[in-house]
């Protein structure tokens, strides 16, 4: 399995789990489906970019930094969209997004095959 695929899979799973935790908040239950899809998509996007980065740079440290930064950035986008609807959930969305991004970045560095190059 290549690193981009690892990133996509990790992003899908972690994004779905992160989205599913919204079920614990009764006010978000009516829109849980949309949250699950959006969160999974966000996770996959972080995974795709982290996987691409992992193909270029072999470093657990930088993988985590890039994954966390991407997770934070995309979570900020989601929180900002939420804010336009009058709901301020920056901390609730960005903090878990930051950590799931870090986990995705770590996974892409740890697992998956590097592309074969011939010199």
């Amino acid at each position: 399995m290549n690193k981009i695929l690892v990133g996509l899979l990790a992003g899908l799973i972690l994004g779905a789990i992160d989205g599913a935790t919204a079920w614990f908040y009764p006010e978000t239950r009516p829109v849980i489906g949309g949250i699950l899809v959006g969160s999974s998509f966000k996770g996959m996007l972080v995974g795709l970019l982290s996987g691409w980065f992992a193909r270029k740079v072999r470093s657990i440290k930088w993988g985590i930094v890039v994954g966390a930064a991407l997770g934070l950035l995309l979570a900020f986008g989601v929180a900002a969209m939420d804010a336009t609807k009058g709901q301020q959930h920056y901390l609730e969305i960005m903090l878990p997004g930051f950590i799931t991004g870090a986990i995705i970045g770590f996974s892409t560095q740890r697992a998956g095959a590097q592309p074969v190059t011939f010199h």
């Binding site: 878990p96 950590i99 870090a102 986990i103």
Partner: protein
């Protein structure tokens, strides 16, 4: 005229020195001596460089072509082979500046460095076996670690006359698995005391008296070493549950910390927000 013992010794030494006339080499000093021959440091006049020159009985002249066929980064390259005027065979090879493995280990290198050396030796052995050659006398004295960290395995394919018993397989007829026994003994030799249990088990498996119970080939031993270095379970050791848990934690500590941080954040956000 009475000759003192020291004078006699000197005469014997001079008489034993190889006559290098007719070759491009100039003798400098003796650097090693074993049952198979004597190794000298010599200067190659033509290329103005130092070489190691091994002088051995003509019956062992086959050693040079045997090693020359083994072109591998961890096997000392042979430059030239020939016969001296007195009939003895010689061959010139790269002079490795560095330390013999036994002396190198005495300098207490890190475990990772010790394993790197053993892996290089194993890779050289695996290569030689793939070419149908066995070492027969692998021991720390036959491994050199160069000043740039390069590793060389020397003295190939010659039946040891006075080999170190601790590194020789018990069976009379030597084959590839006898080299695996010696490799296990070499691993045991380089490990610090007490050795990590998994590495000790790898060495013991390689050194089983029954050759069928050893690793089937060097690649299998290398794979077990690789597994150890990657924090995975090794084939040679039935790991106790506590050690398994410890290894799992140390291999996945970062991931486990991140998952714990995620759970803690979710917990705090949930219960913090409810208040």
């Amino acid at each position: 005229m009475d000759l003192s013992d020291s004078v006699l010794d000197h005469l014997r030494l001079v008489a034993a020195l190889p006559d290098l006339s007719g070759t491009r080499y100039e003798l400098e000093c003796e650097i090693g001596r074993g049952g198979m021959g004597v190794v000298y440091r010599a200067r190659d006049r033509q290329l103005d460089r130092r070489v190691a020159l091994k002088v051995l009985d003509s019956a062992l002249a086959g050693e040079a072509p045997l090693i020359a066929r083994l072109e591998h980064p961890a096997i000392v390259p042979i430059y030239e082979a020939g016969t001296l005027p007195d009939g003895r065979a010689f061959y010139a090879m790269k002079l490795v500046a560095g330390a013999r493995l036994d002396r190198y280990v005495a300098e207490s290198p890190s475990l990772g460095e010790r394993l790197r050396v053993v892996r290089r030796v194993a890779e050289a052995l695996a290569f030689a076996h793939s070419r149908g050659t066995i070492h027969r006398d692998l021991k720390p004295r036959n491994v050199m670690v160069g000043e740039f960290g390069e590793v060389y395995v020397m003295d190939w394919g010659v039946e040891a006359v006075a080999g170190t018993p601790a590194f020789r397989a018990p069976e009379p007829g030597l084959d590839e698995r006898s080299d695996i026994y010696a490799l296990g003994a070499l691993l045991e030799f380089v490990l610090p005391a007490p050795p990590p249990p998994a590495l000790g088990a790898i060495a013991r498996k390689a050194m089983r008296r029954d050759r069928a119970a050893r690793y089937p080939d060097v690649a299998a031993l290398l794979a077990d070493l690789q597994r150890f270095q990657e924090g995975l379970a090794v084939e040679a050791w039935r790991e106790p549950p506590l050690d398994k848990l410890r290894r799992f934690w140390s291999r996945n500590a970062l991931l486990l910390w991140l998952l714990t941080a995620y759970a803690a954040v979710k917990f705090l956000l949930f219960f913090g927000g409810r208040r």
